[in-house]
Structures are given as C-alpha cells and as structure tokens.
C-alpha cells in the first residue's frame, strides 16, 4: 500500500515513451484538423495572408502558417494510417 501511495506521487512524473508518442499523435491531429477555408481564413491565418514580407525575414506568423500548411499536406495520409492503427489497438487491448 505504501508503494501505491508513492506511485501516485509520481503521477505527474510517470512519463513513458508511449506517452510521448501519444502526445505527438494528438498534437499532429490537432494541427491537421484546422480547416483552411472554414477557419483559418476567417481569423486571418489563411495561406494567402501569410507570405507578406519577402527577403530574409519571413516573420513568426508566416512561419507558423507555413508549418500548419505543410503539416496538413505531408501528414494527411500517415495520420490516417497511424490513427486507424491506434483505434484498432485501443479497441483490442484497451
């Protein structure tokens, strides 16, 4: 029973590598879900609104928009595969 109590004190500390993978999948999903024309353009984060300043200083906002767009483009298919695998594994093994 003592170890049970101490394990709860490690609750914030018990990060495993599996938690890291879960965090990565959830964050990538969150970025990939942002819709271009329904959401991003409405708040001024559309694709055409990012590339403003040419030269050697794109700025933080342009970099963020670039990142969102590239994550959406590149990770669409791998995310489908990884999410399906996650769903199947969670259904089978809880």
């Amino acid at each position: 029973m003592v170890c049970l109590r101490d394990k709860t004190s490690f609750a914030s500390m018990a990060f495993t590598l599996y938690t890291l993978i879960q965090t990565a999948i959830l964050c990538t999903n969150a970025i990939a879900v942002l819709h271009e024309e329904r959401f991003l353009s409405k708040i001024g984060w559309g694709v055409d609104q990012g590339v403003g300043g040419f030269g050697d200083d794109p700025g933080v906002k342009a970099q963020i928009l670039n990142l969102i767009r590239s994550v959406r483009t590149v990770m669409r298919v791998p995310l489908i595969i990884v999410n399906s695998a996650c769903i199947i594994l969670l259904l089978l093994f809880g």
């Binding site: 003592v2 170890c3 500390m13 018990a14 970099q63």
Partner: protein, 306 residues
C-alpha cells in the same frame, strides 16, 4: 570422402561406447564435471572428464567439418551474415549518423575536467567561441567550448543511479521506479529538444546548431542536478537548495554565453545594443532556453530530496 565418413562413423561408435560406459559410472551430461560425488564417483568423474572433452570435441566437430553439406551450409551462412551486416551498416548510417556521433565522443580526461569546472563555475571563463579548422568544428578534445555527448550521457546515467540511491534512503525504492525515472527524464529531454527546435524554426535563425548540439546543451544540466541531489542527501534540505541555486545560476550563465554566440547576429553577440524586432526576438529566445534549464533542474529533482 567415403573413407573419412567411415572413419568418422567408427569414431562415433567408439565415442558412443565410451559415453555409455562413463554414463554407467555417474549421472549427468558429458560437458559438466560432477564434483559432488566422491569415491567411485570420483573415478567416474575422472573418466567423465576424459570422455567429456573428447566426446564433445570429437563428436560434433567430426560431424560438422567432414560433412560436405554442412560445409556448404556454413559457407552460405557466413556469406549471408556478412551481407546482412553490410546492409545493417548502410541503413544504420542513414538513420543514425554514426560518424557524426563519433565526433561528439572524442574527448579526453583534460577536456572533461575543464568542462566540468566550467559547468560549475563559468564566471572566470573568458573566451567562449568554438574554434574551427577549415570550416569543420574542432573536436572536443582540442577545444573546451565545443559541445560533447560524453558528459550528458554519463550525467544522465549517474542521475538515474543517484535517484535510485535517494529513493532508497527514503525507503521508497523499487526496481521499476528506476525505469520510471529513466523514461520520464528521457521524455522531458526529448520534449525540451523538440521545443527548442520548433522555436528555432519559428524565429528563422540561421545557425549551425545541429540537433545533437542541442541535445548536448540540454544534457549539461544533469551535472548540476546530480550535485544538488548528492548535497541534499549528505547535508540535508538546505544544502540541496543552496547547491541547486548555485548550479542553476551557473547553467543559466553558461547557456546564455554559449547560445549568444550561436543565435544572435555578430554585432549583438559582442554586446552592442542592436535595435530591431528580430534581434529582440532572438534575445528572448536565448533567455527562455536558458531559463528553462533551472526549471527542469528543479522539476526533476525536488521529489528526490524530502
């Protein structure tokens, strides 16, 4: 071919007879000395010893080396093994840059001693620049300012051992807790390196800091953590807080002085005040990377010293 086969068959029969006779004397296999039995057992042991190596060496050796099929199989197996090794080497070099890693482990005792001194007391060190040799950074053996991976690796392992020691003195130790400590510290390290990489990408800094460099810089805080925990174990909580404060300040100064040269532009790095949003952003980035180190140092050690 047939002669050797017949000869091996003869020897097999001879060994078989020997083995059967010695097996009547003592139980147990050929390969192990049965030293527990005495008297007639000793004689059986002696015969066992004689027959053992002979049987073990003779029987498989004869059958392996003289059989042409197994010759072919051995040759094929060894060629397959060497092919496999080539493939592993080629693919491993694609994923993990082994040659680049070797650069980070090219250290010697003088470098380690000086670097540990700088990690604990960076206030007297004057020249923080990494010297280059024809566009390639010099190996850590020749330059104290070059980042290495030896100290972070050893620091990480020592931190896990010291954490186990600290938990043991509080009667909270169990072997799986060591694994939990190790994996959580590793996860925090990976997340910190990823966060720094992301922020470096967002601020578009043109720097020659590689991922492994960032890993090395993030790993230097383990030295301070170890010193803090050991002081806390030896002298109590006050010593833990004092030594942790000292090491946090030292790591803060070290990170700022090292990153300033790598992240900021030339003029700003020399201390002149350069106006402009970009330099301000880079300064904030340097400060936040340096400020994250003491936070992690406290977060990863406060539960060890109670």
């Amino acid at each position: 071919m047939e002669y050797t086969a017949a000869q091996s068959g003869f020897r097999q029969q001879h060994n078989m007879r020997l083995r059967n006779s010695s097996m009547d004397g003592s139980d147990g296999s050929q390969l192990f000395d049965d030293t527990s039995a005495t008297g007639p057992g000793a004689q059986g042991v002696y015969r066992n010893q004689q027959a053992g190596p002979q049987a073990a060496g003779g029987l498989p050796g004869q059958s392996l080396l003289s059989d042409p099929m197994s010759n072919l199989a051995m040759a094929y197996g060894s060629s397959l093994a060497s092919q496999g090794r080539e493939m592993v080497d080629k693919n491993l070099d694609r994923f993990i840059p082994v040659s680049k890693l070797k650069y980070y482990f090219a250290v010697d005792t003088v470098y380690v001693g000086k670097k540990l001194g700088i990690l604990v007391f960076p206030y007297m060190h004057e020249n923080w620049e990494v010297s280059y040799q024809q566009d390639i950074p010099v190996a850590p053996r020749f330059d104290v300012n070059a980042p290495d991976l030896y100290i972070p690796t050893m620091g990480f392992i020592t931190y896990i051992l010291v954490a186990g020691l600290a938990l043991g003195t509080q009667n909270r130790f169990s072997p799986e807790l060591l694994g939990v400590q190790a994996s959580s510290a590793l996860v925090w390290l990976i997340m910190e390196v990823l966060a720094v990489l992301l922020s470096l990408y967002l601020v578009t800094v043109n720097t020659d800091l590689t991922t492994i460099d960032l890993l090395a810089f993030s790993g230097y805080k383990y030295v301070g953590m170890i010193l803090g925990v050991v002081a806390g174990l030896l002298f109590g909580k006050l010593a833990y807080y004092l030594s942790l404060l000292w090491c946090c300040a030292a790591i803060f100064v070290l990170m700022i002085r090292t990153l300033r040269l790598k992240l900021l532009s030339e003029a700003a790095a020399e201390g002149k005040l350069v106006r402009g949003a970009r330099n301000q952003l880079r300064m904030y980035l340097t400060m936040s990377i340096a400020a994250a180190q003491p936070v992690f140092m406290y977060w990863l050690t406060y539960h060890l010293v109670r």
